[in-house]
């Protein structure tokens, strides 16, 4: 059953076999970290983090600035590992694979997409932004164009940009740019999407639009959302983890975490930051 689904998707060349193998191995958790510690040189930023992220759900990470939630997120697609002096102990299994055994990090990152704090379109046309990764993966031009239209439609941008696909993305509004970046990430069909405060630079309307898209994507895809905005976590996340000083203090169903926090630190943070 699961295999048929994979076969009917049109995955990016090369990634298909690996993804299939990964899927067969894993259970209902997309991400499992065990005793994860992370350091930047001598400074410890994550302290024995044990976290299971369920498949097909939105999981939120909240906590004060500098609590390690962004580092945690960036460890999941090995972006942290590109920072000189970064060191990891303990294990991180993403889609069933220990990330330390990932040999081909480029293919791995295609299955774990990411959206950043601010929109970061590439300095090329709107269309090329969506199709670049496909082009580099050897997808044919006609097909690239189809996928681009599909993804831009999916993020609700097609009507706005279909007449200026060859124009600069920097003319678009911030919200439109971020949705373009989402379409760009979706084009390579990731199984997991990492969201690093994706709406922090956007107005409320664009934020809601983006949140609706995330909800629409969950189910087919696993989303991990880092946010400062507690009501955002409340609105869209199934489960929420509260982090402080590199530790996961509490991890529970979102509803429970906000209404009935078990740890006093969670209670204080939630109370101080809800309004």
């Amino acid at each position: 059953m699961g295999e048929t689904v994979v076969a009917f998707r049109k995955p990016v060349a090369g990634a298909a076999g690996q993804l299939q193998a990964i899927r067969a191995e894993s259970s209902d958790a997309a991400i499992v970290t065990t005793e994860l510690n992370a350091f930047f040189r001598t400074k410890q930023v994550l302290r024995s983090v044990d976290l299971e992220v369920a498949k097909g759900q939105i999981t939120a990470l909240i906590g004060p600035s500098g609590c390690g939630k962004t580092t945690f997120l960036r460890t999941l697609n090995k972006m942290s590992h590109t920072v000189p002096g970064f060191r990891q102990t303990g294990s991180v299994r993403v889609l069933g694979q220990d990330i330390r055994t990932v040999a081909d990090v480029e293919t791995f990152r295609r299955s774990v997409g990411m959206l950043f704090q601010r929109p970061n379109p590439f300095p090329m046309s709107i269309l090329d932004n969506v199709t670049l990764a496909l082009r580099l993966a050897g997808v044919k031009k006609v097909q690239r164009r189809e996928i681009a239209e599909e993804r831009l439609t999916q993020v609700g941008l097609w009507q706005d940009v279909k007449d200026r696909l060859d124009k600069s993305p920097f003319q678009l509004s911030g919200g439109q740019q971020q949705r373009l970046c989402l379409a760009r990430a979706l084009a390579v069909e990731p199984s997991i999407l990492l969201l690093d405060e994706p709406a922090s630079a956007l107005d409320p309307k664009s934020t809601r639009l983006l949140e609706d898209l995330f909800v629409g994507l969950s189910g087919r895809m696993t989303l991990v959302l880092v946010t400062h905005n507690l009501s955002q976590a409340k609105r869209i996340a199934a489960r929420t983890a509260f982090m402080e000083a590199g530790e996961v203090v509490e991890y529970a169903a979102t509803e429970a975490l906000f209404s009935d926090p078990q740890d006093p630190r969670t209670a204080i943070y939630v109370q101080e930051h809800s309004n």
């Binding site: 972006m79 000189p84 293919t107 950043f116 090329m124 990764a133 003319q171 390579v188």
Partner: protein, 332 residues
């Protein structure tokens, strides 16, 4: 109160003068050069550019010849086509060899090399840009020319024997290829240093976006970092080209100083405009009609015009390429 007003007025005037300075210098320089070159233009006309014979004439003659109301030494003829060709070809070889190396070096320094390595290497490259050209020239004469003569030339000539311009007698090693290579070595530091500064200014986020999308670091640099600063990089290349076009001493030492000779292959001896002005000024000053010096001034005007034309061409290329892309983004 009055003192403060006087101070700000003084400031405005001095900064105004300083800011207008380059333009004034440029205009005065061009005015003087053009006035100086004018008699040679009247004497020679358009054949100045198309002629292949440069001959300052019999400077020991007693009676000048007169053409278009300008006196010249008997037999004088000023055609600079070989010089123009030598200048353009050698500078293009320098770009073809030097620019890829410079861009790769800059990318490596910014994106690949560990911080400690690039911290040490970057000042070394800046230092290379400041080495006097005569030093490069000497290296060209003592090391590069013999190498071209005995190794690189024969090898290239054999490997590229189908390509007409690369096949042929290698000669003494002094010539077009050696000039181009010396120029390449000279422009690499300046293009590298400028490009490195530009790449360091590329925002982190788009680059990380590329990485997170599964692009290799080469692809991220090629498709995101370089396009981000494309106009600046083209500016850096023009800077290097300008240096190669105008380089005098080093080329004079390794060019082979061909007189009235159009290069037939990449090993041919050449002369460039700048090195000719330097090499011939001494004897031109003995021309009793003064025309030879005017002709050298006309070479200088031509060189200036070529440099400005390449600049404008590259700039308009950049503008054309950016229309509809980054230009609007920056205007916001």
């Amino acid at each position: 109160m009055t003192r403060r007003r006087f101070g700000s007025k003084l400031f405005a005037v001095t900064t105004g003068i300083a800011a207008g300075g380059p333009l004034v210098v440029m205009l005065v320089l061009m005015g003087v050069l053009v006035r100086d070159a004018w008699p040679a233009w009247r004497f020679q006309g358009l054949s100045f550019f198309s002629g292949t014979v440069w001959n300052m004439g019999n400077m020991y003659a007693n009676t000048p010849i007169v053409r278009a109301g300008v006196q010249g030494a008997p037999g004088a003829s000023f055609g600079i086509l070989p010089l123009v060709v030598g200048t353009l070809y050698s500078s293009l070889i320098a770009l073809a060899v030097g620019v890829p190396i410079a861009l790769l070096t800059a990318a490596a320094l910014v994106y690949l090399a560990p911080k400690r390595v690039s911290m040490w290497l970057s000042p070394v490259i800046d230092l290379l840009a400041g080495i006097p050209s005569v030093v490069y020239g000497l290296w060209g004469v003592e090391v590069l020319a013999p190498f071209v003569q005995s190794r690189l030339g024969p090898w290239l000539s054999h490997v590229l024997r189908i390509a007409p311009f690369f096949h042929g007698p290698v000669g003494t090693g002094m010539g077009l290829l050696t000039s181009g290579l010396v120029l390449a070595v000279m422009i690499i530091p300046i293009v590298t240093a400028t490009t490195r500064e530009l790449l360091a200014q590329v925002p982190r986020l788009p680059y990380e976006g590329a990485q997170a999308l599964g692009l290799t670091s080469y692809e991220s640099v090629r498709y995101v970092a370089f396009p981000w600063v494309s106009s600046g990089v083209i500016g850096a290349v023009i800077l290097g080209w300008g240096r190669a076009l105008g380089e005098t001493m080093a080329v004079l030492m390794v060019s082979g100083n061909a007189a009235n000779y159009l290069p037939t292959n990449i090993y041919s001896p050449i002369s460039t405009m700048a090195s000719t002005v330097a090499a011939l000024l001494d004897s031109a000053l003995t021309d009793f009609t003064g025309l030879a010096v005017h002709a050298l001034a006309l070479i200088a005007v031509t060189l200036l015009a070529i440099t400005m034309a390449t600049n404008l061409l590259a700039r308009s290329l950049v503008a054309l390429g950016r229309r509809g892309l980054e230009a609007e983004g920056e205007r916001r």
